[in-house]
């Protein structure tokens, strides 16, 4: 394996040095586009948003420094706190709901029955159907008229008078959540399925010997071995949740009232409708801090519940 290069080392040490340097040169060169991209499109903008957050800037006139005024306004802005509440409520339902549902689907897809792969394709499909067109389809499904909207039509069959969904202060957010849960579809389940298939069969057998029932085997064998994937899904779920935009923007424009005013929609409105770039940057910078804190906390807590196989 590496013996060939080791031989070269012994016989031609000077060439080895330059070879190593050459490797580093190409390593950095291949990395260069990413570094430029990071500085210009990620690192730079994060720092810039911190600075812009201290200014009044409407993109037409030159920005001027206002110190902490944006943040002072933010902490008195009921819409800001509402957008936090909406986003957090959504996260608290959709992330665990998505993980539990995906785990259930994965267990189902792990059953050794004929034709199960056809179902896998079907389950995955919603995940690729995102964006405007799908949101428009959901608006149609949530149409409150039981002769038109499929959901209230079905509820009507069971004798339930369906709510006004997207036009209701109470039901608009649950409707958006349902859409999101549907959109996750089977994509996370596919990740979990790979994890389930990696669980060594002998662990189940050993647990059986110890008298563990099916439920106990699930909790004490399957779940611990799945925790790295659950953790991964959890972290990416938080980031994804904070980026929620298109679905509610098309379905409700953040309404009715403020009922589905997600953090992202509020940033968008401030920046590109009200042209309050400074204010929006302050919000974005706060989001960055919150995400940093949540992620750090998650990684810290993960050592208590995420199980990594030794070896």
């Amino acid at each position: 394996m590496s013996s060939t290069s080791r031989d070269t080392v012994i016989h031609r040490p000077r060439l080895w040095l330059s070879a190593r340097r050459e490797e580093a040169f190409w390593g950095y060169l291949f990395l260069l586009p990413w570094i430029i991209g990071f500085l210009v499109f990620t690192g730079g903008p994060i720092l810039a948003s911190a600075v812009i957050g201290f200014t009044d800037y409407n993109i037409v006139l030159a920005p001027h420094w206002v110190g902490l005024k944006n943040y002072a306004t933010l902490f008195r802005d009921v819409h800001f706190f509402n957008s936090l509440r909406v986003t957090a409520t959504y996260a608290v339902v959709v992330i665990p709901g998505g993980i539990a549902g995906s785990l259930g689907l994965a267990l189902l897809m792990n059953q050794k029955v004929k034709g199960v792969t056809v179902f896998r394709t079907l389950y995955y499909l919603p995940n690729i159907l995102s964006g405007v067109a799908t949101a428009i389809i959901w608006v149609w499904l949530f149409n409150p008229d039981p002769r038109r909207g499929m959901i209230n039509m079905l509820l009507h069959v069971f004798g339930i008078d369906g709510p006004k969904w997207l036009q209701s202060m109470t039901w608009a957010l649950p409707a958006v959540m349902l859409t999101a849960l549907w959109g996750i579809g089977g994509s996370t389940a596919v990740i979990f399925l790979a994890g389930l298939q990696d669980v060594p069969e002998q662990l189940y057998e050993a647990a059986k010997i110890d008298g563990a029932g099916a439920i106990s085997r699930f909790w004490h064998v399957t779940v611990p071995l799945m925790t790295p994937m659950i953790f991964f899904t959890f972290i990416t779920g938080i980031i994804g949740t904070l980026g929620t935009f298109t679905g509610p923007f098309i379905m409700t424009q953040g309404g009715p009232g403020d009922a589905t005013m997600f953090y992202g929609i509020y940033i968008y409105q401030n920046a590109f409708v009200a042209l309050k770039m400074g204010y929006a940057s302050g919000m974005a910078w706060l989001m960055f801090l919150v995400v940093g804190l949540i992620s750090a906390l998650n990684f810290y807590l993960s050592r208590y519940w995420v199980y990594y196989e030794a070896g």
Binding site: W34, F38, A48, S49, W140, A194, P228, Y268, M287
Partner: protein, 305 residues
């Protein structure tokens, strides 16, 4: 990865002899229980398939109904004479041709940029050794944790200053710089599975690193690169926020923007509205059905192992 210690092996051997004996004794009730279990599994599989598939079915069903049947009581599950012409009518009501051309252009160029850039970065991280490599990779992973909204405003200001707002450039150019960290991660994982001896042998034959990338790694990594390309296709085809803030004229609009813009035009024609939405989604569905193997492999590869 899985290490067997001796006690597990003994337990395993013990358990196989035990269960086979038990199975033989209770074979009839065992078979009955198995049959019940299988039926339950199919029942659940079908239930979830209906739950997840029904929205799409209802959209398709609505799209081929005459307007009179859209709100019929009792509901028409599938029209006796599907009006496929609704798709032609929806297509003609909106400048779909321009939107499709723009979307295809943006999608293909960003896809090419991202596949190229992320594979170069992943190559550097997986096949080459140099000081600071792991720190840089950590940085790539860290950027995965940054929601897009954090950089949205300053990036917009940057493109505004460059006078790029109103062109495709803000949507396309970033793709060529390093690619998204998710794809870098996925491709690095895949590249690491390819034996390093390939590179070493090529080096001895005098191949340069760009040549190793182009002639050895890229051809071997086709399944992973295809997965990235497919994810990119779906992502950019459906992208809304980017085009929403950067494009401002009808001849630059993408399908997502155009569809949202013309929503009002279909307001009272839900059948045409569904047809228009399905026209926008059709390429994604086709791409997915053709490449589903790569989707599944790709998503499995990122599973946080």
């Amino acid at each position: 990865m899985q290490r067997l210690d001796s006690s597990t092996v003994t337990a395993l051997a013990y358990s196989t002899t035990m269960t086979s004996g038990r199975q033989r004794r209770h074979s009839r009730s065992y078979r009955l229980r198995r049959l019940l279990g299988t039926s339950l599994v199919y029942l659940l599989l079908v239930f979830f398939a209906v739950m997840l598939g029904f929205p799409l079915f209802w959209a398709i069903s609505t799209s081929v109904k005459p307007l009179g049947q859209v709100a019929a009581v009792p509901p028409v599950w599938w029209p006796a004479h599907p009006l496929w012409g609704n798709f032609v009518e929806a297509w003609n009501r909106v400048p779909f041709l321009i939107f499709t051309r723009n979307t295809a252009f943006i999608t293909i160029t960003t896809l090419a940029g991202n596949v190229l850039a992320s594979s170069l970065t992943a190559f550097s991280f997986s096949r080459l050794r140099y000081p600071g490599r792991n720190v840089m990779f950590g940085l790539v992973i860290a950027t995965m944790l940054i929601p897009g909204f954090v950089t949205l405003v300053p990036t917009f200001i940057l493109f505004h200053r460059l006078h790029w707002v109103g062109t495709f450039l803000p949507l396309i150019v970033p793709a060529f710089f390093g690619g998204s960290s998710f794809y870098v991660f996925l491709l690095r994982q895949f590249f690491l599975t390819l034996p390093l001896e390939l590179d070493e042998a090529a080096r001895i034959d005098g191949a340069s690193y760009p040549l190793i990338y182009a002639k050895i790694i890229v051809p071997l990594a086709k399944p992973a690169l295809t997965a990235v390309a497919l994810f990119e296709f779906i992502g950019h085809w459906n992208d809304y926020l980017g085009p929403l803030i950067y494009l401002n004229s009808m001849d630059h609009y993408t399908l997502a923007i155009g569809l949202a813009f013309f929503q009002g035009r279909f307001y009272t024609y839900q059948n045409l509205m569904m047809a228009a939405s399905l026209i926008v989604l059709a390429p994604c569905i086709i791409v997915f059905l053709l490449g589903q193997k790569y989707f599944i492999q790709g998503i499995t590869f990122t599973g946080g192992k």
